[in-house]
Symmetry: C2
Subunit: 242 residues, 2 copies
């Protein structure tokens, strides 16, 4: 029994790897959040789909497992990478009691990399990815991680910086970082990475706190090596002799 867990990258088919495209072509049945299935509709036409809402991830993985047990070749798709805030770990947990199910994870381009490329090169020094969603991680843990990131002079990619119900999280995160980082720290925002309506903006940590953001936005906060070059956000790796 074979279950694929596929990261489709940030946008449409062009941003998938060839390996991901070929795996999807082999599948009879594709499970995923509706928005992500729409991005790859040309590849899944005629296939059975398992769609559940944004907060029904457990149901989705159980349905995919059961379809695999029924003999179907099934893919669970995540946007970006399948491992980074994606479905892969949940799929391993849901199938833990059934080692006969072989799970193949096919990686994809995560928003830190895809959004970083739109901005320039903000994550070229050591960096951390932190999700501001406190649905599955207590806010106190998120706060601690932000403080650790600032203390370590790490570049930061913030996933899930806000939603309809979490409107103040980015401001709270900025205020924590501003306790130790300069207000002039170079920051970037990308929305709808690699999709229709892509938007990009450079700002500062001070300016970031009042920016509207949602689940389609990824936020980048530079470190001491980050600067703006010709409108792009660039973190130096430290090469000499340039």
């Amino acid at each position: 029994m074979k279950l694929y867990c596929i990261g489709i990258g940030p946008g449409g088919v062009e941003q998938m790897t060839l390996r991901a495209v070929r795996a999807l072509e082999r599948c009879d049945c594709v499970a995923g959040y509706g928005l992500y299935l729409d991005l790859i509709d040309e590849l899944i036409e005629g296939k059975e789909t398992i769609e559940t809402g944004m907060t029904r991830e457990v149901d989705r993985c159980i349905a995919a497992r059961d379809a695999a047990r029924d003999g179907k070749t099934v893919a669970v798709v995540s946007s970006g990478d399948a491992g980074v805030y994606g479905m892969a770990s949940l799929l391993f947990e849901v199938c833990a009691d059934d080692p006969a199910i072989e799970i193949e994870v096919i990686p994809g381009v995560t928003a830190a990399c895809a959004g970083g490329a739109v901005l320039g090169a903000p994550l070229t020094d050591d960096f951390v990815c932190v999700s501001l969603s406190d649905l599955l991680t207590p806010w106190a843990v998120i706060e601690k991680r932000l403080r650790c990131a600032a203390a370590g002079d790490l570049c930061i990619a913030l996933y899930n910086p806000g939603s309809r119900t979490r409107t103040a999280h980015l401001r709270r995160a900025c205020d924590i970082l501003l306790e130790s980082l300069p207000p002039s720290t170079v920051c970037g925002i990308v929305r709808n990475i690699g999709r229709t309506g892509e938007r990009v903006a450079l700002t500062t940590l001070d300016g970031l706190r009042d920016r509207p953001v949602d689940m389609l936005t990824t936020v980048f906060i530079g470190n001491s090596r980050t600067h703006a070059i010709n409108g792009r956000m660039v973190t130096s790796r430290g090469y000499r002799g340039i």
Copy 2:
């Protein structure tokens, strides 16, 4: 004038995005480290190449810029993602005085994602990427970042964990982490990700310190949510009701 900076992913053409393949096809001239050019030789046959050694990155970017100024369509390729320890930021720096050169960064699958997929799903909680190479970053900064990662209960992906001349860096990193993390912390090692000779192993933080590693190895250190499931390394995202 157009300069592409392309992340080719971990291995051969199958692990590139379609967008990266198409950009490479448009180029007259391709600059990169020889090992990476070999991985994509089928795509660059007949094109001019700029090859420099592993530590000649500045020369390589300058040569690419000059080829673009000569009117060629040039790509600088990095393995993995172009931004994560890749060539993109250096390219922006080298071209800083020439805003007429348009740099398009095309992201790829970085080793944290590609190696994570081989292991299972080690980076599903918040995580940090740290390079153990102290050629461009002082070791004291690397140590500080490792301590911050441990303090923040972050999962860790270690890039460049060792080389012929840096044989003790992984052991030193493990000893720092062992000051605060349990010796039983689940860890994983992947070598030659997505290439011929791919090797994968699960171990513990205690066991990791004596493992041989090199520049082709990526190391993963779990957090308090990481466990082994049927031989795979899995970090729980915290979903209930499984």
